[in-house]
Amino acid sequence: MAALALPDNCVSTSCSDGLRALEQTFQAAPIGIAHVGADGSWLRVNQQVCDMLGYEADELMALTFQDLTHPADLHTDVGLANQVLNGEIDRYRLEKRYFHKDGHIIWANLTVAAVRDARGRFVHFISVLEDISEVRQAHIALAETEERLRRVLNSVVAYIAVLSTDGAILLVNDPALTVAGLSREEVLGEPLWETYWFSQSEESKARVRDAVTRAALGERSRFDVDVMVKDGTTRTIDFKLVPNHDEAGNVHEIIASGVDVTERKRGEEHREMLLRELSHRVKNTLATVQAMANHTMRNTGDFERFQAAYKGRLSAIARCHDLLVATDHVSVDIRNLVTSQVRPYTRGDGKTLVLEGKPLVLTGEAAHAFGLVLHELTTNAAKYGALSNQTGQVKIAWDKVRDETGDWVEINWTEAGGPPVAPPAQTGFGSALIRKSLSHAMGGSASVSYAETGLSARFRLPLHAAL
């Protein structure tokens, strides 16, 4: 063992100079130094120890290190000290907690060795204490920050991954895994484009691979791409790649993120479809109105008669439209349809109109076509038939029927109590519409008979015209 030899001429004066120098070193060392007895009592402490633990030296002399040690570290510390005491080990080092005099915790890096006499007998421990509370605090703060970031990463609605510059997945958040039913182990280290998410098409694989290559060169990119989710369906995500630069300015990793925009995309498509549909309907309605005007013009000799007939027909179209808007644009209850077209022309005593039939809902197209037929029947009845006097009655009955020609919705219009009826001498636009419009494109039929007691008409619409 190497040892420094004292010079032969070491006399008491120079020795006491040396001791004074040692004492100065002990006190001035920028680290805590203490002598501690076999029982743990503080024997000698320097100012650093006092400053660290918040006690005066003489206060410490009355205490043991055990008194000031955090219970969680006590067992380890005492155990190690005993091993040194018994000569099993020469020294130990421990990061441990002390209680400061005011109660707060001090983290210290403790190194302990034994001082022994010439015969190897234990004299005291020499303990070196370095206050590492600040470092510990910084570690804890860092861990807390990391934990918080991890929680943020796993709580956002976005899918997030960190990639190496060659596209391997280094980190991925829970939502990205959950949505696809993947485990972290399955995807870590895999190139992003080779994963399940992008397995539905070669095109999106190639697109992601290309974007990663460009991101590694410093280029950001953002585009919509379809990804596979756990039930084998696809969702559209707004996908973004951002290169992350190190201090030297080189790309060292790539942040990939995506937000599910499937609903937004569907919403946009739906809105466009509705707009196209609306535009189509409006133009068709205008064309119908134009046709109605032309027909009415051809069949009425003068402007006054045109105006009266046209106004009635235009309102009939409007009433059909109102009913469609009031529902969902695809269906109309036949009772509402009949009431809205015929009631305006009745006497208002509640006896003119008899309706018979179970609830039956017509498609929008059938309701529109049949609504115009009802209007022509009604205006004819108001001019010549059962709605033209005080005693007439119109009965409208509907039902579903089946015969060898198929399944039908049958509607019977029967007038009674009006003036005597004769077949018209010439057929105008109205009667042509009544007889032909349901067979034209609806696949329906109409028959009209002019009994002297009153006009009656039977209409059939294919059952698929009802809902």
Binding site: R276, H280, A291, N294
Partner: protein
């Protein structure tokens, strides 16, 4: 010099519009065929009648009228679409076709129809 009148196949599912077209084209000297309200009826008329020209609504109740347009193309019968949609709703192979918006000015329709004929 006499010229035999041109026949026009009318395909339109809205009864009112179909009747109006029939009347207006008849007034302008065409022989009208139809009006057909469905693709089925229209294809039948194309087989049984001599058709020089055709006016097609793009969307019928149960289908679009594109199969008929293709049949007319095969036979070299000129046609045009009359529609609430614009040309963007056409099938890709029918993009060459003329589309007149509804409601149509009948004088324009007549001129467009006569323009379809060679010479």
């Amino acid at each position: 010099m006499t010229q035999s009148p041109l026949s026009v196949l009318i395909v339109e599912d809205e009864y009112l519009i179909a009747m109006d077209l029939e009347q207006e084209l008849a007034d302008r000297g065409f022989v009208t065929i139809g009006p057909a309200g469905s693709l089925q009826d229209a294809l039948g008329l194309l087989e049984s009648e001599e058709v020089h020209l055709a006016v097609l609504d793009m969307h019928l109740k149960a289908s679009d009228s594109f199969p008929l347009a293709r049949r007319l193309t095969e036979r070299g019968v000129p046609f045009l679409f009359l529609s609430g949609n614009d040309a963007s709703a056409l099938a890709p192979d029918l993009k060459f076709a003329r589309v007149l918006p509804k409601p149509v000015d009948y004088d324009v329709l007549e001129a467009e129809l006569r323009d379809l004929l060679p010479g």
